[in-house]
């Protein structure tokens, strides 16, 4: 069946169109608890200019954000706050774990520092570094944009896919076993 379309009409899938819109307007929630927060600010400032990637609108209310950037170590008194903020964010939402401390606890292998936020929260992108350079964070945001475009769906089916849940839960269980054993 041939349909004649004018030159200014593009045909695509709705999922892809929605993902394309979403990936170019990420609104970060700066959960900055330590020195990574300074690099996060530098990333948002004029020299590195996060606006080039459509993610410059930092909001301090979780209700207005869809990308949480956890920048810095999270202690056990802060983790319930972090979880509550994550739950308050609207879907669809993503999470970047920025720096060694947020991802693994870093050098702070002590009684009060959570050894990686991914034990208790879903994380989409990890940024290595102590602290990471702004370029690294920008790369993570570009990678996250690719991920959103690649697997994003209008109603967020990619978040609840059972095979993804299974893999993540297995990974988490393995970490817990290692910790206890």
């Amino acid at each position: 069946m041939a349909v004649d379309l004018p030159d200014n009409v593009v045909v695509t899938k709705l999922d892809e169109l929605v993902s394309w819109c979403r990936k170019h307007s990420l609104w970060p929630m700066p959960f900055a608890t330590a020195c990574c927060g300074i690099e996060l600010m530098a990333t948002g400032a004029s020299r590195h200019d996060l606006a080039r990637f459509g993610a410059e609108v930092f909001r301090f209310s979780p209700r207005q954000c869809d990308l949480m950037i956890v920048a810095g170590r999270v202690v056990m008194k802060m983790l319930p706050v972090l979880q509550r903020i994550w739950l308050q964010m609207h879907e669809p939402k993503w999470c970047i774990s920025m720096g060694a401390c947020a991802s693994t606890g870093g050098v702070f292998d002590t009684y009060c520092v959570v050894q990686g936020i991914d034990r208790f929260l879903p994380v989409d992108m990890y940024v290595p570094g102590c602290p990471p350079r702004p370029e690294q964070l920008i790369q993570a945001i570009i990678d996250l944009q690719e991920k959103i475009q690649r697997e994003g769906t209008m109603f967020g089916r990619e978040f609840t896919a059972p095979e993804r849940q299974k893999a993540k839960l297995a990974l988490r269980e393995e970490g817990r076993m290692r910790d206890e054993g």
Partner: protein, 165 residues
């Protein structure tokens, strides 16, 4: 520097105290029962109006140490710039020390902090709760017999998955 007249007056009032000096700072070692009277005298008779800090040292496994904890009170006289350090040694079953909140209001949070991280109780404290650690914490982590990586407190949280959030 502590005024020699202050030291002489303190020696006269409490003959049993041990005095020592290090780099111009005078240190008084006080038995646990005399902590409150000595601090009261310093506050009311010798005008040490500022309690700079209340802190503690755990001497577990420390070379030649006889007692477990050394409790330290740092005092200053804001009029004359005198400073004095009052120390007392306590051991575990009888580690309760009288609170000095009635002398210096500022002792409130300082004593709560010592209770929180060293587990030393202060009798007569108006509100001896944890100040830094979460309320559900049961240990006192700056004690030397507490493991650095804790007893699993840092893993004791609910897990939020993608499907739930």
């Amino acid at each position: 520097m502590t005024d020699p007249a202050t030291i002489a007056a303190l020696k006269e009032a409490f003959p049993e105290l041990g005095f020592s000096e290090f780099r111009g700072e005078t240190r008084v070692v006080v038995p646990r029962s005399a902590v409150y009277p000595v601090l009261q005298t310093l506050k009311e008779k010798m005008a040490f109006d500022l309690l700079v800090d209340v802190t503690c040292v755990d001497y577990l496994h420390y070379r030649d140490a006889k007692d477990r904890f050394g409790l330290v009170y740092l005092l200053a006289n804001a009029q004359t710039n005198e400073r004095i350090t009052v120390r007392t040694f306590v051991n575990d079953p009888e580690s309760t020390v009288p609170s000095v909140v009635s002398l210096w209001k500022g002792a409130d949070w300082l004593e709560r902090e010592v209770w929180d991280v060293f587990g030393i109780r202060f009798s007569g404290h108006p509100d001896l709760r944890r100040i830094l650690l979460p309320e559900e914490f049961t240990a006192h982590p700056l004690r030397k017999d507490y493991p650095l990586q804790g007893l699993g407190e840092r893993h004791n949280f609910p897990v939020i998955t993608r499907a739930e959030s």
